[in-house]
Symmetry: C3
Subunit: 319 residues, 3 copies
C-alpha cells in the first residue's frame, strides 16, 4: 500500500475531464487504478480506504451501467452510496439544479458523481459545491472515466501508450467517449485516428490534432487498437446513413477485416454493443476483444478517481 | 457453525429449479436454511459468511417482494447487493441479454439472481457466465426458492414432509410456484393434489404424478396443507371464471370450510394475497395460517441458496 | 456517549406526530439529535448504534429528499436500509396496505418509515405491526421529523425556543410541516403566527392557539424566525391566488423586506424552494438563511428518532 502515498501528488478535488489534465496526472490515475486492481484481487475484494465516506450518484440520464460501476467502485473502497435520478427528484418540484446539489451536499456527501445531457454541468456544479465532483458524462463533451478505462486497458495489454495508433470508429459527432479518449491518448503519445461516415466525422476534428479518415479499410493495416463506438440510434434525430447494413458494410469490424488487421490488434468497444452493427459476434467474442476487460477496469479507474479526489479534498488541496 | 460444513456436500454453483435436484440436495438446502435461521436469531441478525461478495439482482419482471427478500438475505450474510431492472437498462439500447449479464459479471459479481418472463432464461444464463445463477422465477416454469420456502415452512410445522397430503389450489396453469412445489414435495414423499377450475387445471398435470381435483370440498377432509395460489388477475388475457365471487364460492378458504378441514391443517399462500378471493380474512389471520412464517423462511432459504452456491463455485465444484 | 443513556427516558416505539408529545419528550429528541450530531462530527461520520438493524422506507408519495435523509441517518448509525415504493409494489397486485407492511415486518425489519397521502396511515400501521413506525409525512396532517429539524435549527441558532415569535408563511392549508411546527413550537413556548392569503390560511387555525395574519408586512417587524413554506403547485387543483407574481408581491421574502425585519431574523424553508416565488435568491443565499443547516439537522433528528424508538422497542417499553 506504500505507493498509494503517491496520492499526495494529486491535487484536484474534482475530475471534470481529461482535456485539462497533464500527462503526469493521467499516468498517476492509471498507476493508482492498477494498484487498486491488484490490492482488491482484480477489483473483486474490498478495501477500507473510503470507510465512512458517502458518494452520491446524481444521474439525469439513464445509465445502469456507469452508475453501477461507480457504486461498486465506491463500496469496494468501503464507502456508502446513494442514488438520485431526475424522475421523482425535487427538480420536478421546481428546484434548481444547483439547489438540488447543495441539498445533497448538506447531507454531508463527500463526492457527487454527475451525468447530465448539458455539456459543462459538472463544471458548473464544481463551482458551487465544496464536495468532490466527478463527471460521469456531460452531453457530447466528456466522459473522462470512460476515456481513462479505455486507456488503462490499452496500457495493460501493450505496456505503454506512446507510439501506438488508435482508431476511434463510428459515431464521433455524438461521442463524449471519443473526446475523452482523444485528449487522453494524445497526451500520452498515441497517434489517434477518427473514422466514420462524413455525416458523423467532420474535418474540423483535425483541429484537435487527430487524423480524420472515412475508410476503415484504408487505415485498418496501420491500427494497433480499434475502439468501436456505439451507433447511438436513440440519440439521432436524422439517420446519418441509409441503413445499419450500409453502415456495417463499411465500418463494422468482422472476421474478414480481422484478416487484414495487425496480428496483435486490440478490439475495444465502450458498450453496450450492437452485435451486427459496429461489430460482429465473432470479433466481439474473439481473442482480440478486450471488451469485458474494459468493464472490469472501469471499476479500477473509478476507485482510483474517487480515492484521489477524496484525498485532495481532505488535505486542503483543491483545483 | 459446525454443521454448515455440510456445505461441502453441495456441488451446484447454480440453482435453476427443483425438478433436477435429488431429495438429498433439497434436504441439504432445508437443513442449511434452518441452521442459518437459528444462527441469525430467526433471520434477524447478521453473519459474515459472504463478506466481500456481491450479489446482483437482475429482474425483468416487477417484484419488490422477492427482490427485497434476496437483497436482505444477501446483506444478512454480509454481502453487497446491486439491482438491475429492465427499464433504464442497456437492453433498451439494443444489447443482448447475455451481453448484459456478461457485463454485470465483469464487474466481479459473485451471483446473479434472475427473474424473467421467458422460461429457461436462468438456464441460458448459467451456460454463459462463470458466476452463480439463481432462478427467482422464469415465466410459468419454476420459482425454486418459493417452492423451498413453502416446503421449509411445512417441515418446520410438521417435522417432516413424507406422508403428508398437500393441495395446491387455484391458478395452477400460470404458476411457477406450483411446479416448484410439486417437484420438491414429491421428492420428499408428499402426496400432492392440484385443485382449481378446469380452465386453470388440466388433466395433463397427472403426468407429473399429482392428483387432479376440481372440487375443493371433495378433497378438503384429506388435506394436511392447503397452499392457496394467487389469482393472477394481471396475467390473464381471458377471464378463466365468470367472477371473483364465483371463484370464491368454490375455491376460497373461509371459516365455514375450516370447520370441515383437519384439526391441524396448515394454511399457506405465496402472496400477495387477495383477501376475499382465494382466502378470507378470518382464515388469513387465523391460527392455522403460516403465511408470515413463509415470508421469514424466505430469507432463510435465500441465505442458504446464496451460501451453498457460493461455496460450490469457490471450491471448484460446479454443476 | 454517556448522555445517550438518556434514551432510557424515552418510551415510545413509534413517532407518529408532535401533537401528542410532551415538551420533555421533544426536548429529549432535540438533545439526542445534538449529541449524535456532535458524535458524528456534524452528521458526517458513522456510529455503530444500530448495527445489525434494518430500516424500511415505505414511501407512497415521491420524495427523494426525505427518503434519502432517513436512509443516510440509518446507515450512519450502522443500520441497513431497504426501499419500497408504491409503483412496482405488491399493492398494484391487490394486496392491502397492512398486508404489505406485515410482509415487510416478517422480513425482520426493525422500523418502517412511512409516507402516505392519507392522514392517519402511520397510526393505522402502528396498531398493526410490532416494529417501530416513523411518520415521514401523512397527507396534510403531520411531518414530525420536519417539525423537529426546524425546531432544532432554531434552538441551535438562538439557544432556546421559549419567547421567540415564529411565523409560518404561505400554504398553511396543505402543509403537514406547518402542523408539526405549530404543535412542537407551542409546546416549547414559542409564539406562532401563520400568515398567507386567506385562500390558504383560515381563521380556524386560531383554535390551535396560533395567531392568524394575512399581511406579512404587518407582522414582519415582530418575527424572530420566518419559515417560508413551499407553494405546492403540484398539489393544488384550484389556484389559490391569481399568479406567482401576485403571491410574491405580498408574501415573498426579498431584500427590501429584509431591511424591515429584525437584525438577527432567521430565514428558514423546508425546501425544495421556488426561487422567485416564496423567496428571492438574495435572501435564500444571504447571511440570515439557515436553509442548508436545516438539511444537515434533518440527518441528526432522524438519527435520534430511529435510535430512540429502536431503544424503546427493544427494552420492552412501548407507547
Amino acid at each position: 500500500m506504500d505507493k498509494l502515498v503517491a496520492a499526495e501528488a494529486w491535487t484536484r478535488a474534482d475530475l471534470l475531464g481529461l482535456e485539462h489534465l497533464s500527462a503526469e496526472e493521467i499516468t498517476l490515475i492509471l498507476d493508482t487504478a492498477e494498484q487498486l486492481k491488484t490490492m482488491t484481487g482484480g477489483c473483486a475484494g474490498k478495501l477500507d480506504l473510503l470507510r465512512g465516506a458517502t458518494i452520491a450518484n446524481l444521474f439525469f440520464e439513464n445509465s445502469t451501467r456507469t452508475r453501477t460501476s461507480f457504486s461498486l467502485a465506491a463500496r469496494r473502497l468501503g464507502a456508502d452510496t446513494i442514488d438520485f435520478s431526475s424522475s421523482g427528484s425535487s427538480l420536478s418540484k421546481g428546484e434548481t439544479f444547483i439547489d438540488t446539489a447543495k441539498n445533497i451536499e448538506a447531507m454531508n456527501v463527500d463526492a457527487i458523481v454527475v451525468r447530465h445531457r448539458t455539456p459543462g454541468t459538472p463544471h458548473l456544479l464544481a463551482q458551487n459545491v465544496e464536495c468532490c465532483v466527478v463527471n460521469a458524462g456531460d452531453g457530447a463533451h466528456e466522459h473522462p472515466t470512460q476515456g481513462l478505462l479505455d486507456i488503462m486497458t490499452i496500457r495493460e495489454q501493450r505496456g505503454q501508450i506512446e507510439g501506438l495508433t488508435v482508431a476511434l470508429v463510428g459515431d464521433i459527432a455524438h461521442s463524449r467517449t471519443a473526446r475523452s479518449n482523444i485528449w487522453g491518448l494524445q497526451k500520452l503519445g498515441a497517434h489517434v485516428i477518427v473514422c466514420g461516415p462524413s455525416t458523423l466525422v467532420s474535418r474540423h476534428w483535425e483541429k484537435l490534432g487527430v487524423e480524420v479518415a472515412y475508410s476503415l479499410d484504408a487505415i485498418l493495416p496501420r491500427c494497433d487498437v480499434l475502439n468501436l463506438l456505439r451507433i447511438q440510434f436513440e440519440r439521432q434525430l436524422m439517420r446519418p446513413f441509409p441503413s445499419v447494413r450500409e453502415y456495417a458494410l463499411l465500418y463494422a469490424m468482422n472476421g474478414e477485416r480481422m484478416t487484414r488487421a495487425k496480428k496483435n490488434i486490440l478490439i475495444m468497444a465502450p458498450g453496450p454493443i450492437n452485435r451486427g452493427a459496429e461489430i460482429t459476434p465473432e470479433v466481439a467474442d474473439g481473442p482480440h476483444s478486450v471488451i469485458l476487460h474494459q468493464v472490469t477496469n472501469g471499476l479500477a479507474i473509478r476507485m482510483a478517481v474517487l480515492w484521489l479526489t477524496y484525498c485532495a479534498a481532505n488535505t486542503g488541496a483543491s483545483q
